[in-house]
Structure formats: C-alpha cells, structure tokens
Symmetry: C2
DNA sequence: TTGAAAGCGGTACCAT
DNA sequence: ATGGTACCGCTTTCAA
C-alpha cells in the first residue's frame, strides 16, 4: 500500500551491501573508497537509476546550486539575450537558474529579492540597469549581505556586489563626436525608461553636444514609449518642430527603427545611430548602425566573477567593458 | 565561534514559549491555534524576520513549489515572450520558474529533462514545438510519468501530458485561401527549423495550394537560416528562379522581414504574410501582416491547466486555440 | 577504508 | 489547542 516515491540512499546502501556513508562518499567523488567498493556502488546506482534527493542534499549542504536571475522583463529582447547567455554560463558552472521577472515596480523587486534569499540561492544576478534605483537600493544591499550579487549593466556601491558594465557613456559620447565629424550640427536624442543605462547615455549626449558646440536644446531629448510607433510619432513631431535636425541618436534600437520610419516617411535620409546592436537593427530598412554593448562579454564575465567569488576568491567590484560601433546603412564613419 | 546561518523553527518556538509544532501550524495557517498563541508566534516571527528553510520544507513536503521551464532558446523573441508570460502566471500560482535553455540538441533536452526531475519540480513546461521530435519523445514520456508536462505549441501523445496549441495548420491554410481570393497564383513559402509547428504550416501550405489549384512546386518551399539576411538571400534566389511568384508566406516574422527586403530591393511589392505577430512585423518597412498565434492565451491556459492538474483534477490533454490574422501593410484582405 | 550516528530544519501524526 | 516525536534523505564527523 505504502508506495515509496523513489529510492533513497539506504536502498542503494543495502543493495550494494555497504553503509549510506560509503554511498555518499562514492557519489560525492571522495577519494578514500576502495575501488572495488566504489565499483559495486556505482553498479547499483547505474542499475537502479538512482538520483540523490536534491532537497535533502540542499538541506545538508545549505545549497541547491541555484542562482537567482532577476530581470525586469524577459520579453525585452535585450534582457532575453542576457538571460539566455547567463543561463548557459551558469549551466556550465553547474548552477540552475531561478528566473524572476520583476517588472519595474520597486516593491516587486524588493519582494522577489527576498523570495530569492528565502530559497537560499547561491548568488543573485541582476539583469538590466533598471535595477539602479536612484531612490532605494536597500534590497540590493540587503541581499548582498547574504549572497554575492552580480549586476549586469548597472552600478551599485555596496560590498559583495559585482557590477559588470559597458561604458555606454563613452560610447554615446563617441556617437556624438562621430556625427560632429560627419558635419552634423543638431542631433535629436530618443530614449525610453530612465534606467541607469539611459541616464548615462543622456549625460554623455549632453556633455558631448556641449563640447563639440552642437545645438543644445532640451527639447531635442525626447521620451518615447518602447515601441516603433511611439518613436516614429515622437520623431515626427520633433522633425516638425526642428526641421534642421540633421542626425538622430537613440538609447535603444527599437527607437531608432521608429526614427527611421519617421524619416523615410518624409523622404529624409539622416544619419541614425541606435543602441544594443539588436536584431531590430538588422530588420529595419535601412539597416541601423548601432552600438554593441558587448552583452555576451558582460554575461561571460559575470559567470567568471561568480565562480571566482563562490570559490572564495576576490573579484573586482566593478568591471567595465568597451562598447563598439557596428556600422550599417544609417551611418558610416567617413574616412 | 560557531555562527548559525540563520534562525530555525526551534529558535522561534523557544522565543515564543511554544513547541515547534505550534510554530509550524501558525506558519502554515492552520486553524486550530488559539488566537493569542498565534499572535505571540507571529510577533516573534515578525521581530526576527524569520523565514522557514525552503530546503527543509521541500524535503518534508517533497516540493519546493518550482516548475521547470524547458525552452530551446530564450533569446528567440517568441520564446522569450512565452517564458515571460509563463513566469508571470506561475508567480501568481506561487511557483518559481526554473529555466533551462536546452538548445535544439535532443541529447541536451533529455539531459536537462532529467535534471529537472532530479530537482523535484512540480511540473515541467515545454516551450516551443521544437520539442516534438519526430524521432524520440521518450524523455517527455518519462518525465510525464513523474510530473505533469505542459506543452506550449507542441503535441505529444502521452498520458499526463497537456498540450496547448494554436491551430497553425488552419491559420496557414487560411493564409493561402486569402491570397488565392486575392488573385495570387504562385506562393513562395519560407521556413526555418523543422519543428512540429513548422511541419504543420508546411502541410497546410501544401494542401491549400493543391486545394485551390495554385502553383505546386517543391522548390517554392524554401529553407532559410533564422536571420533576415538569409531569408533575403533565399528569397532573392527564389524570385530569380520563379519571377512569377506573386505572394510570399513564411513560418516566422523574421523571415517575412527578409522577404520584404528582397522584394523592395527589386522594386517589387507583393503580398507577404508572416507568422507570430512579433515585434519584427511592426519594425519592418513595410509593416508585415502576420498571424497572431495567441501566445499569451496559450500560456495563460497552461497556467490554468497546471493549477487544475496540481489540485488533482482532470484537464484536457489537448487544448487548441484559434489564431487570428493581424493585417498590416504587406497584405490587406480585400472586401 | 568503512560504519554509526548526529545533525540539517522542517511537517504531520498521535497523544494529551 | 498544544506538545512530543518520528520521519524526509543526505552530509559529515568520529571511531573503529
């Protein structure tokens, strides 16, 4: 009547004629086991297809080898790529990925962070700079007291926190410089969400515009919803107001796509530079020159740091990668 | 010296002056606890910020309330959206999402499936019809012996398996019918990966083409890599070989984008219908008419079924949703 | 090299 | 309503 869900270590021990301690040793790859004994145990394990109970293991070791990934929105292609790469890297380190999509509400981020801690994950990875709240990072600081917190493309000043970011400030500054060299005088800037990343880009835009003596006008910095259509509308309005705009830079590729649509609808053809080097930049017509922020490298580096830290070694609090411009049809650096 | 990682139920019991059994009752919301006692315990819990150990709980209950999501590739925007929605639905049911990106190799799918089982997830959700292997579904069947397996947009004939799919066969058939009504006579078909989903679409294309007496030629059914560029190249070749092609249908939006590029490059303007109603369909110029396969609804239904099944109730093995065509610039149904 | 036994931190049954 | 206690299944220390 009473049916066992599955075999346990006692069953294996009995079948192999050894104690559970020995089985445990064999399974954890301990050296001090007589080859013959090991052999016998492994045979039984093989034959019975035995798998140790992960919860019991977790209870004993205090870890189930899981890493929590906190991400504002996986349906965003940029974050999706990040999660994809991270998951892959974690898998290589033999960690499972516990995915939490938090949305952008701070309360949710806090709640999910503590959920993750309650699940005793070995580390937490924050994907997306949206996590850099200007207001309140206490949940991150709290989490970092318990487990290492990796932050992809975001920055938090806090112990046991490892920020891997791309120098987007510099990249955007460079965008403006290149357009200036190209002869442009009045650059529109389209952005969405005020994430850490976006704030950097806007700051860079402002400073570079000033530095190179380009048209300086707050109205040139325009907010859009995160859709092609919104960007197109906003850009159209902007072009109506400022017909002398002669180049467009955006904080995201999708917005650049919308901008291009606005341009071609009026038969214009201005330099446009997007950001993220996403699939959108290739889909658009014309294809969009875009800044590659090295997401793959950031995630790989995150994995690196994670394994370093979990091994008990020191890792840099802040790692900055350099972005690179991928030239496509909307802008080519003139030689 | 010996520092405790965190408080356990004994600490709480002691502080509250009750037994651990009572603490357990209070925390699990049992009715049979004197309000006064409950109050006292909750106070201590509140004050100490106590959180029960998830592993111990899992060990006792045989579940940590986790659901495994198996997905060939989250960086694919379609799957990413699915995972995003699923995660949200699971969260509402109080389940965590354990994400596994399997890639398309069968061996990996099998391995990860058993990993998931070893982690004692409460259910497994398969995202993407790529999981319907013509050759071997034994890993799915095996998994279904242990936990319910939900399949989004795929079909497996097996007990304890719940397939939620969209009638893509019908949708593709309808595409061909509409184009025929529109006066088209020779339709090219672009596809990637031979997933269950794609197989359905191809079959529908074939049958409809036959039924409506359109040009029937295996060469019109062309394989591309999953990139704009590849689709563009393939489509260009196709148009060179068959200059009389007068409409294009694709198994994925991205391929439709490529097709449109090929068309506009030769100054052509044929009806094009994509599939998935993804962000790409809106980004392209012109915007692409696309079949919406109701991904959101499928995922919501999956969550529904999951809660039903986990509650011990019966749920349908197969749920089919109806797709709908979203009209954009590349094709409008003529009245 | 091996085994016995004490945790790990809960749940739930059985008394009281 | 509450407490005692036997599990759940594994890891690890200590002895042998």
């Amino acid at each position: 009547m009473t049916e066992k869900a599955s075999l346990n270590i006692y069953d294996i021990a009995e079948a192999a004629g050894v104690s559970i301690a020995t089985v445990s040793r064999v399974l954890s790859g301990a050296e001090n086991v007589r080859p013959q004994t090991r052999q016998k145990v492994l045979e039984v394990v093989e034959k019975t297809q035995y798998t140790p109970n992960a919860f019991a293991r977790g209870l004993g070791l205090g870890s189930m080898k899981m890493v929590g990934i906190l991400c504002t929105d996986v349906s965003d292609s940029f974050y999706a790529r990040a999660v994809s790469i991270l998951e892959h890297e974690l898998r290589l380190l033999d960690f499972d990925a516990l995915l939490y999509c938090t949305g952008s509400d701070l309360k949710d981020k806090q709640r999910y962070t503590s959920h993750l801690l309650a699940k005793h994950v070995d580390a937490i990875v924050l994907v997306g700079s949206a996590f850099k709240e200007q207001i309140d990072n206490s949940h991150i600081e709290f989490a970092a007291k318990h487990v290492p917190v990796l932050i992809i493309n975001g920055l938090v000043e806090c112990e046991n926190t490892y920020c891997i970011l791309c120098d987007e400030y510099r990249a955007m500054y460079e965008n403006v410089r290149l357009l200036h060299l190209h002869g442009c005088k009045k650059l529109a800037f389209l952005y969405h969400a005020a994430s850490y990343s976006t704030v950097q880009k806007i700051a860079a835009y402002r400073e570079a515009v000033q530095k190179y003596g380009l048209a300086l006008n707050e109205n040139l910095i325009a907010y859009c919803d995160k859709t092609c259509e919104s960007a197109e509308d906003v850009c159209t309005d902007l072009l109506n107001l400022h017909p002398d705009i002669d180049a467009i830079v955006t904080a995201e590729d999708l917005l650049a796509v919308g901008a291009c649509k606005a341009l071609s609808r009026r038969g214009m053809n201005l330099p446009v530079i997007g950001f993220d080097n996403s699939a959108f930049s290739v889909c658009a017509t014309p294809t969009i020159t875009s800044v590659d922020n090295m997401l793959g490298d950031m995630c790989a580096e995150a994995a690196n740091i994670l394994s370093t830290v979990l091994a008990g070694n020191k890792a840099p609090h802040k790692t900055i990668l350099k972005a690179k411009l991928v030239e496509r049809e909307t802008f080519r650096i003139s030689k």
